[in-house]
Each structure stands twice: as C-alpha cells, then as structure tokens.
Symmetry: C2
C-alpha cells in the first residue's frame, strides 16, 4: 500500500463511531471479539466486519488463543494521522510551535 492508500484506509476506518469506540476500548487492553461486541446494539458479524476494517487499516493486531481471537491496538496508524495533522498546526495556533521550540531548545542543551 502506498502512504496515500494507508492514510485513506486509516481515515475511512475512523469515520465510524462504532470503530472509534472499539479502538477506545482496546486502548484499555486486549479484548476478544465478543467482548468488543457486547456494548453495541448490532449483530456479531457486523462487529466482526468493523474489526476487520480496523485490522486492514493497521489499527488492530490479532492473536490466537483457543477459539478466541484476541485483539490488540496498534497505534502506528494513529501516529501517522497525528503526523498528518501536525502539517496544519501552524494554521490553528502556536501551542505546537511552542512545543517544537521547547523540544529544539532541549535538543540544543542536552
């Protein structure tokens, strides 16, 4: 996948509240498909598909434990999105610029 295609997949995956909720849940720790599905008023296959979308976009890594497929979050695509957003920081304020400057100073003095 190209970088563009990766960003496409990452943004598309996040454009859904169920999928964002699944990621939020996984940020607390691993979970099985049934555990992830529990909070939602939709069928298990529907959740299974959401998980697949997140997996294809690189947000989720999966293991195998007996019948279970434990899901774990992989934040790499989130980092890619944060990096994308950082391109625009200069447009909306100086907080990041301050941070960058402070980090730069820190580099200089270490």
């Amino acid at each position: 996948m190209t970088d563009q295609a990766h960003l496409d997949a990452a943004f598309a995956a996040l454009a859904n509240p169920t999928r964002r909720a699944i990621l939020a849940r996984l940020s607390q720790g691993e979970a099985t498909v049934n555990e992830l599905a529990a909070p939602f008023a939709m069928s298990l296959p529907a959740v299974s598909k959401h998980i697949r979308v997140l997996e294809n976009a690189g947000f989720i890594a999966r293991g195998r434990n007996a019948q279970f497929r434990p899901c774990a979050i992989d934040a790499a695509p989130i980092a890619a999105i944060a990096t994308w957003a950082d391109q625009y920081r200069h447009i909306w304020g100086d907080r990041f610029d301050k941070m960058t400057q402070l980090l730069a100073n820190n580099e200089d003095t270490k």
Copy 2:
C-alpha cells in the same frame, strides 16, 4: 451536529486523497473552485462535490467575489482530529509526554 457526528464527517472527508490534496493546497492560501480543480484529472462538478464535502465537515469556509467562490481553510476540525489522536499518544511513545512535561516546566518557571 454532535461531537461524534462532527468527527465522523471530518474523518470521512479526509478519507480521500483528492480532498486531502485540496486541503494541502488551501493551506498555502485561498483559491477558487477552478484553481482547486486544475491539478486533477476529473470533471469540475466532481471537484465541486469534494469541496462541498470538505465544507460540510467544517474544513472550508467560502466567500463570494463576483462569479468566484473563494475557498479558505478552517483548521478547527483538524485540531479536533489532533485532539482525538492525542488520546492515544501514550500508546505509541513518549515524545508527546516529553513535550507536555517541557510545557509544564515552562509554565512553572514563567
């Protein structure tokens, strides 16, 4: 629109390379629809629709100048996305933690 719906719209708008390219162009300054359309191998109505999607998601504000509808970037939804991503910073490393700490130190000493 709820916060969730705003995030839905923002992420969905960004899940397309044409729209991200339009935003990148607008980060350099205002542009008309025709100017924005020029780099793309697609019809003007297609670009017009992409602009509408970005506008509905809050990324673009539009003016009126004779026949022209100048487009300008509004970074508020990008900030919202950066804020969303920040929730997960702790998962992928300590760079942000360093920044936060440095900013905190800066607050303390000013």
